[in-house]
């Protein structure tokens, strides 16, 4: 059985990669960026080949033989080794130019990729893409337990995060996700493929979580999820805390942990719709099309909500870094 190649990339590249992945030929490559701790081994059997994006660029790890360099997705071919040292390594192949047929909009230029340079390339974090929906759905209908397990392992974290946005406790969110998966199991035979499997499943989660949330009559979800003081954030008022100064690089583990806590609190304090969009886009790596479908938003609306959320979270981080700087 031949499937389209799967793309495996370091998790921290997800955002940029998802952006570039939009330009891939969907007929030739399947790109559903999902975080996983399982790595390449969890790629289901129908994968024809695996494109692994490591810190030093893309390479084929063929299952049934890689189709060669020419078949590497263009955005991956444009990925240069992360650091200047690696880029200057003697003997590294010249960077292929984009072909003349390549639309100008496909520009994933060098500086954009460098912005997400991998700091610690030794760490194994990967994104694994699932096979195409028709393959997944057929496998599920045929009772392929491994495929179901792969879905569980790829999407449950994101589903938990989304569910947590509506309900009061982590246990409650887990029950929501469980109910959603039971609904998926019960209705997979009726799945018509009008939307992607992923958006279909996430819509089920959102609806299940909403019902549950109404039952719990919760008004301020998420903020109790973290020990951190999560004062509700007024997106407009806090949006711009003065002119931006350069931030320290959150290199140290302690600082990184504090930054994460700050981010969690900031996300918790966002209005529900902004938070949902941000969770799906920036934390789960969904495309804007997927988010629009899952949350019933227009593209323009989605973009505004996302931008407000990002601006608010950036503002919160800026405040935090300002405090850090003062205390130094």
């Amino acid at each position: 059985m031949t499937g389209r190649p799967h793309v495996v990339a370091p998790r921290r590249w997800r955002d940029r990669y998802t952006c570039c992945a939009r330009h891939l030929d969907r007929g030739a490559f399947l790109v559903t960026c999902v975080p996983t701790v399982l790595g390449r081994r969890s790629v289901p059997a129908p994968a024809a080949a695996v494109v692994e994006v490591s810190a030093s660029g893309a390479r084929w790890c063929g299952r049934g033989g890689g189709p060669g360099d020419d078949a590497t997705p263009r955005p991956l071919r444009d990925v240069e080794p992360a650091g200047p040292a690696a880029a200057d390594r003697p003997g590294s192949p010249a960077r292929p130019r984009r072909g003349p047929g390549s639309p100008a909009g496909n520009d994933c230029s060098r500086h954009r990729w460098n912005d997400v340079r991998v700091r610690r390339p030794d760490r194994e974090e990967t994104i694994v893409a699932l096979p195409p929906d028709d393959v997944v759905v057929a496998a599920l209908r045929a009772g392929d337990e491994a495929m179901f397990a792969a879905l569980l392992d790829t999407w449950s974290r994101g589903m938990l995060r989304v569910a947590r946005s509506y309900v009061s406790t982590a246990d409650s969110a887990e029950e929501v996700v469980q109910d959603a998966w039971l609904a998926v199991i019960g209705s997979i035979d009726g799945f018509e493929g009008r939307s992607s499997l992923k958006t279909w499943i996430f819509r089920i989660v959102v609806n299940t979580a909403k019902k549950r949330g109404v039952r719990e009559s919760r008004t301020v979800p998420w903020s109790t999820a973290f020990d951190h003081d999560a004062a509700p954030l007024d997106g407009q008022a806090r949006a711009d805390p003065g002119p931006p100064g350069p931030w320290p690089t959150p290199e140290g583990e302690a600082l990184a942990a504090e930054v994460r806590a700050e981010i969690a609190a900031a996300v918790a304090g966002l209005p529900t719709r902004q938070r949902d969009v941000m969770i799906l886009r920036d934390m789960e790596g969904c495309t804007s099309d997927e988010v629009c479908e899952i949350l019933d938003l227009t593209p323009a609306n989605q973009r505004v909500l996302l931008h407000r959320a990002r601006t608010a979270v950036r503002g919160r981080l800026a405040d935090y870094f300002a405090t850090v700087k003062r205390s130094e």
Binding site: R157, R260, H307
Partner: protein, 88 residues
């Protein structure tokens, strides 16, 4: 808008213009002229460049934010439910 203002507006890409285009810029969804105008502005305006870098840092930190996974018991229960549904 007077003719003069219109010309000025086309010629000079302001910080407000960039702010307006930032979501599309980050989505890599700008057409080439707008993209080039934005890049040009970013090259000369340190405030906007820093702001954008910070937005990107925010997005990067968000994308690496750890998430809880499904408990082993729930996972096992769901796998059993799947198995049962296919054998019924």
């Amino acid at each position: 808008m007077t003719r003069f203002e219109a010309v000025t507006k086309v010629k000079r890409f302001s910080c407000e213009d960039l702010a307006e285009l930032t979501p599309l810029y980050l989505d890599d969804a700008l057409d080439l002229p707008s993209r080039e105008a934005a890049d040009h502005h970013l090259a000369v305006c340190e405030t906007c460049a820093t702001h954008l870098t910070q937005l990107r840092t925010t997005i990067t930190v968000l994308s690496t934010h750890p998430a809880a996974s499904l408990s082993e018991s729930t996972r096992a229960r769901l796998l059993a439910a799947f198995r049962a549904s296919r054998h019924s």
